[in-house]
């Protein structure tokens, strides 16, 4: 079944067959899941070779989810990589990895953060106390404190759209077709096929989080914490603090 943005049909004939080589969640974690349809296991494959760094996904996410100014649920990190005398631009769309063994879940002291049975990690912002523990625990810097709700915030795979049979906003708007969303439980889905055949990578595999956002064509230098020269421009609530010398604060 094709889960690309051109032909997306949710919930129809999803077979409860796991994709090859993907680990099952820990038993206690699986037992704690609630909501969502266990017949599905939503995932995203990002083909970075197709990403042009237009940030349309970033903007679509902000518009769809009313993300406050200077906060981001997803962003396309952009790097200039020079290797062997050849320079190129590398894109890396970042978002919540909706990990199978998500480290943000056990630390939550109120249960506001939980994983649905379809694998989507969500935050109930009517329960969240804004303690920020999950923000610390996420190895991907995917979470932040929303200044308007004063609670933890993150990508939800646009769960409200997925439940309505739509694609996440970032996938819907991606001009290069770099973001592919679908059901890993459906062996015929595009994401299942890509995971089976393209041997995609995940970010920070050493953390043991078992992410469900996969990358095709990922530069190994960008897999973990990037060692390089800091960004020349970063979206920030404090635009005045941009001098390079001011970037280091211990």
């Amino acid at each position: 079944m094709d889960r690309s943005r051109r032909n997306f049909c949710l919930g129809a004939g999803a077979a409860a067959v796991g994709a090859a080589a993907l680990a099952a969640p820990p038993a206690d974690a699986a037992a704690a899941r609630k909501g969502g349809d266990p017949a599905n296991r939503w995932a995203m494959v990002v083909d970075v070779r197709k990403c042009v760094g237009c940030q349309a996904c970033t903007v679509a996410c902000i518009m769809e989810n009313a993300v406050p100014a200077n906060s981001f649920r997803t962003i396309v990190s952009t790097y200039e990589v020079t290797e062997g005398g050849r320079a190129g631009t590398a894109m890396l769309p970042r978002l919540c990895n909706h990990c199978e063994d998500a480290p943000c879940l056990p630390v939550c002291p109120t249960g506001a953060t939980f994983q649905r049975r379809d694998g989507i990690v969500v935050v109930d912002n009517t329960v969240c106390v804004g303690c920020g523990y999950c923000v610390q625990a996420c190895p991907y810097d995917a979470r932040f404190i929303n200044h308007e709700t004063r609670t933890a915030d993150k990508c939800t795979f646009c769960v409200h759209r997925v439940d309505a049979g739509l694609l996440p906003a970032c996938v819907e708007t991606c001009v290069g077709g770099a973001r592919i969303f679908g059901d890993l439980n459906d062996p015929g889905s595009t994401v299942s096929r890509l995971v089976r055949t393209q041997a995609p990578k995940v970010l920070k595999p050493g953390q043991g989080t078992d992410p469900r956002v996969f990358y095709i064509g990922l530069d190994p230098n960008l897999e973990g914490k990037v060692e390089g020269t800091p960004t020349l421009w970063r979206p920030s609530a404090r635009p005045h603090a941009h001098a390079p010398a001011a970037k280091e604060h211990a």
């Binding site: 002291p109 303690c131 970037k247």
Partner: protein, 376 residues
């Protein structure tokens, strides 16, 4: 092959644990240290430790009562604090903390009451309009070493639980290599004890300047700072040797930063200097060693929390941090310090620090003069 990467666009994540958290970990640590320093004199009735214990008890009480306010303020939704108490979340150290804090503070209050009961009874015996209230507070009793010991052991259990949960809460965060080390709980505990000894030395200077207390606590401070340096040295050795990948990664994430190198030199100096002074001249230097030790304990927590959160988990370089002037920054720090000072004034007004050992007779003093006497 040489690879050079320039990060052109990425996101800056703001700190999620604010300076309020620094204040909490600082104050609760000092409170625990105060409990530990008070135990020999009170719970174990060692008379030579009694005067030290009296000042340490003041440290434990003032810091222990101010700390939960700072913690509550660090929640972005403080009005929802009760959400902790309607769920069972044993996988979260913070949830355990929500149980441990009330246990610790309640135990501390009971322990302090048993320790101060003798003074309350003596205040109730003088001709004063407040005497009936003091007699009521003393509940008709005086010094009861068995009760003090029992309450002290409960307070010790609470203190141990606080040390365990505050250390584990941060050390389990695998996503931050700087925090994810078994050394961190030990470092929190040792620097807390050093900070508490420092605050005892400062308060002792302003409440009678008891030389015996000064020498005793300076020696405790020197021993604690020696342990702080030993543990810090072990952490550094593990990071430099590369034997343990997490420590090597932690060191590697900051070693290239000029700001972090300056911070490291500063931290070493703020530990080694009071250690040397306290060891060489334990008498007459209490105010100086105390101030540096308190500064050092606070700075350690600032570096761990604010500095630690400025290290991106995925991006290059460091996140920017500028201390806001408002409640989430400078005002929060000043406000917490103000709350601590207020508590100090209130407690020393109600039970002024005796100029002689607590077991001796207490001079009756007008209520208005007590705070002044205590603050002298």
């Amino acid at each position: 092959m040489d690879t050079n990467i320039v990060e052109v666009i990425n996101v800056t994540r703001e700190v999620a644990w604010l300076p309020w958290a620094v204040q909490y970990f600082f104050l609760i640590g000092l409170s625990v240290g105060g409990v530990l320093l008070s135990l020999p004199g009170y719970a174990f009735a060692r008379e030579e430790w009694r005067a030290t214990g009296r000042v340490a008890l003041l440290v434990a009480l003032t810091c222990g009562l101010a700390a939960p306010v700072a913690l509550l303020s660090d929640l972005h939704q403080p009005g929802r604090f009760w959400h902790f108490y309607v769920v069972f979340r044993p996988t979260s150290w913070m949830w355990w903390g929500s149980l441990i804090i009330p246990f610790y503070v309640a135990g501390l209050l009971v322990y302090a009451w048993t320790c101060l009961r003798e003074e309350l009874r003596e205040h109730g015996a003088v001709d004063s309009r407040l005497a009936p209230l003091y007699r009521l507070a003393a509940a008709g009793g005086g010094r009861n070493d068995a009760l003090i010991r029992a309450a002290g052991l409960v307070a010790l259990a609470g203190a141990a639980a606080v040390v365990l949960y505050t250390g584990a809460e941060v050390a389990v965060v695998r996503a931050r290599p700087l925090w994810n080390t078994p050394f961190l709980p030990v470092q929190f505990a040792l620097t807390a004890l050093a900070g508490a000894a420092g605050l005892v030395l400062i308060l002792n200077r302003f409440a009678g300047a008891d030389r015996a207390v000064e020498v005793r606590v300076n020696r405790v401070l020197a021993a604690t700072l020696a342990a702080v340096m030993a543990v810090g040295g072990l952490w550094l050795a593990l990071g430099l040797s590369g034997i343990e990948p997490t420590h090597a990664e932690a060191l590697g994430s900051v070693v290239g930063s000029e700001a972090w190198r300056v911070t490291a030199v500063w931290a070493v100096a703020a530990t080694a200097v009071p250690f040397a002074i306290a060891l060489a001249r334990p008498s007459g230097t209490g105010l100086l060693t105390g101030l540096i030790a308190v500064h050092s304990a606070w700075m350690f927590r600032w570096t761990v929390f604010i500095g630690g959160q400025s290290v991106p988990k995925t991006g290059a370089g460091f996140y920017e941090y500028a201390l806001p002037a408002g409640p989430d920054g400078l005002l929060g720090i000043a406000g917490t310090a103000g709350l601590w000072l207020f508590l100090l004034l209130v407690i020393t007004a109600i039970v002024p620090t005796p100029r002689r050992p607590a077991s001796g007779p207490v001079r009756a003093a007008p209520a208005a003069g007590r705070a002044v006497a205590a603050a002298e």
